[in-house]
Amino acid sequence: MSAARSGGPHLFPAMWTWDFFVQELVNGLTLGSVYALIAIGYSMVYGILKLLNFAHGEVYMIGAFVGYGVLVVCGGAASPMFPIYLLLPFMFIAAMIGAGVLGVVIERFAYRPLRNAPRIAPLITALGVSFFLQNSALLLFTADFRSYNTFDLDGGALFVKGIHYGALNISLIRIIVIVTTVALMVALTAFVSYTRVGKAMRATAYDREAAAMMGIDVDRVIVIAFFIGSALAGAAGVMVGLVFQRVYHFMGFGAGLKGFTAAVVGGIGSIPGAMLGGMFIGLAEAFATGYLSSTFYDLIVFGILIVVLIVRPTGLLGKADIKKV
């Protein structure tokens, strides 16, 4: 790494080529999928409770660890008990259920008692939950990086296979990630738009008190929102593990921040906005890493957040909140 850096201005001689651009585009879409899935959880919870769930990043981290645990229990990446087309769905489902249950537990025990407290109280609690989970993971899993070792799965099929057409190189794992994300988003959109519970969810987000008066069980809606949001974050955790291999206790912090930025960019409270914002942040980070600076991409995402907040605080798809007194 340091040897490459001392090479002066020609760090990436192939920077201005199509290959590189496409590579970063695919990278950005993968990252964007992850951020979008995290952002949806933020957005749903914020839309209904007006609560910033700082612990959401930690739920994503636990999801990644659950996926890792399933992989290890099933014999590890080198010699899994099941064929890969069973193993991957199994990992996803386990992580989604695990993360979803965690989200519901957090809501029940940490946030629900504070539902009518001053706004700052649940925020500080969320901070405490985040810190507690992070360091509990440090205690349980130690500070070592764990690796999914997906290169070993099926003799590296996930990375070797895929679309290879001229400059276009998309490995199978990235296709799986992007397709899974799109499928989850379509399913979520359908759920929110067409089912009774989805309708109740939209009503609660619109006006919690009025929804309660119309006979909607608000507590149940909130639990469902937490479950879905957290399950999606768990899926994102497995995706990161599959593509980037490494999982560790601190991974949730930065990802949570970017997921939140994505939710703000898209318009917090709006589910399509969260998807769009996630993709936007993912692409921005990938291109910033590739073309500008591989160390300061965090600062660039931060800059985007600031610019959006100044120029368009309601985000791309958000509606201006009219405050009634």
Binding site: L123, I124, L127, F132, L139, F296, L305, L309
Partner: protein, 478 residues
């Protein structure tokens, strides 16, 4: 029927009954009857004696840390406690002050400013950065401020860690600003008008004088027009705005106020340590300072100092396995005695705990002898005396301890759902499990344990007693 006194004209009954609604026990009320100046004077006097009474450098060092934490907590209190803004980038201002001092008072760039010039400049610079950061959030809800500042904290650490090779696009020469992960060392000691502050005792008094200045300044600020406006802003921004309070300007002012206190504290810390490192300004410190403010009671000056004292000294104690064990068992015992009523229930819990432990220990010793032969961390009087009570597996203690830790969290959560005698009965195995986890896992990992306890403290406090030890609880009207 008793004769009801006619309401006095010009006195609001809600105000007149304020004394009856006042909470707190006798100790608390006695504390509040002492005038603030006398309270603080006594504290300063007691604190000033510490370096005279102890020649142990470690004790004085802990004292300096406590004073610095008190300063940090006081600054955060302005933002969170008085004006109700959630500032999660607070530590970045602290780091900003420290790094700025490192840049203008070390061999890094060969600049050696004396303290009387450096401190005001850092104070102002931190306030300006605070203002700039507050600007984008000024029109927005408190939540956005929280996330922007949290991100700012992350960005600060990233910047400082990688600040040793800043390159602009097209520039091949990297500029080294912050020395990167290695930090900057060999800083000048504070130098007031040619008078160098060298010994740790002297730094203790510098910190103490700074604390006195900050507390007195804050006391008068809080009682002033601005302070009252901040409180109005915290209680209800909308109502405050309709009362023509300049909400945005006050938010920014509070923000800048907190930032400048943090910046100045950072400069003092940098001088005390003689070095700055990027890792020192990360989230754990933020959570620590938050825990201090919340424990002491957001919005109360003496409460915040009390919180800083309690938490910093407890964290120091947790470093040593034996002392940590004392702290653990005494905290459990004291909170049981303070919280459990009637006495019969307390007796059942304590007795049950002892009996349960010995019975379980005997059972395990009979079934699985290796399960009780493990060694304690440390191992002083209590460590040995609980040897026959709590089980300590000889092998795989870490793994079993991890499972027990998860089970303990589950038990504590279940405990919050139970009431009355069921809770008392369930408390017995839960406490035993807590002791088991402590003896087998937490006592071996003091650094992680500290952080877990801080996180749990925030959750429990916000749920059980959001006003902290000395804060006043919000009174909802209507």
């Amino acid at each position: 029927m008793t004769q009801q006194a006619p309401p006095r004209i010009g006195v609001d009954s809600w105000v007149a009954e304020a004394d009856e609604r006042r909470e707190g026990g006798r100790i608390r009320q006695m504390f509040e009857r002492v005038p603030p100046s006398a309270r603080f004077g006594a504290f300063l006097f007691a604190a000033a004696l510490v370096p005279l009474l102890s020649s142990n450098e470690y004790v004085i060092r802990v004292g300096v840390d406590t004073l610095i934490f008190s300063l940090l907590a006081l600054g955060l209190n302005v933002v969170v406690g008085f004006s109700g803004l959630l500032d999660l980038g607070y530590i970045a201002f602290y780091g900003f002050g420290a790094y700025m001092y490192a840049l203008i008072a070390s061999d890094k760039f060969g600049i050696h400013w004396p303290a009387e010039a450096a401190l005001p400049v850092i104070l102002l610079a931190a306030a300006v950065v605070g203002l700039l950061l507050g600007l984008p959030s000024r029109r927005l809800l408190g939540d956005y401020l929280a996330i922007v500042t949290l991100f700012f904290g992350l960005a600060f650490v990233t910047f400082v860690t990688n600040g040793n090779r800043l390159t602009l696009l097209g520039h091949s020469r990297a500029v080294d600003l912050t020395s990167g992960p290695n930090g900057i060392s060999d800083l000048d000691p504070l130098d007031f008008f040619g008078q160098k502050v060298v010994s740790i005792q002297a730094y203790f008094y510098v910190s103490l004088v700074t604390l006195a200045i900050v507390v007195i300044g804050l006391h008068f600020t809080v009682e002033s027009r601005t302070g009252r406006a901040w409180k109005a802003l915290r209680e209800d921004p909308l109502a405050a705005e309709t009362m023509s309070i300049p909400v945005n300007r006050l938010k920014l002012l509070a923000f800048a106020f907190g930032a400048s206190i943090a910046g100045a504290t950072g400069a003092i810390t940098a001088a005390v340590d003689g070095a700055v490192f990027p890792d020192s300004y990360d989230t754990p410190l933020l959570i620590t300072v938050y825990a201090m403010v919340i424990l002491g009671g957001a919005g109360s000056l003496s409460g915040v100092i009390l919180g800083a004292l309690t938490i910093n000294i407890s964290l120091e104690v947790l470093r040593d396995a034996n002392q940590a064990r004392w702290l653990f068992y005494s905290v459990i015992l004291i909170s049981l005695i303070a919280k459990v009523r009637p006495w019969k229930k307390l007796a059942v819990i304590l007795g049950g705990l002892v009996v349960f432990g010995f019975a379980f220990h005997a059972l395990i010793a009979a079934v699985w002898p290796a399960g009780t032969r493990g060694q304690a961390a440390g191992g002083d009087v209590i460590g040995r005396s609980v040897q026959d009570w709590v089980i300590r597996p000889e092998h795989n203690a870490t793994l079993i301890g991890n499972y027990a830790f998860v089970a303990l969290i589950a038990c504590v959560l279940v405990l919050t759902l139970l009431h009355g005698w069921w809770r008392a009965l369930f408390l017995i195995p839960t406490l035993y499990l807590a002791a088991f986890v402590w003896e087998n896992r937490l006592d071996f990992e003091p650094s992680t344990t500290r952080l877990i306890i801080l996180g749990a403290l925030l959750i429990v406090l916000m749920n059980a007693r959001p006003q902290g030890l000395l804060g006043t609880s919000r009174v909802e009207i209507g």
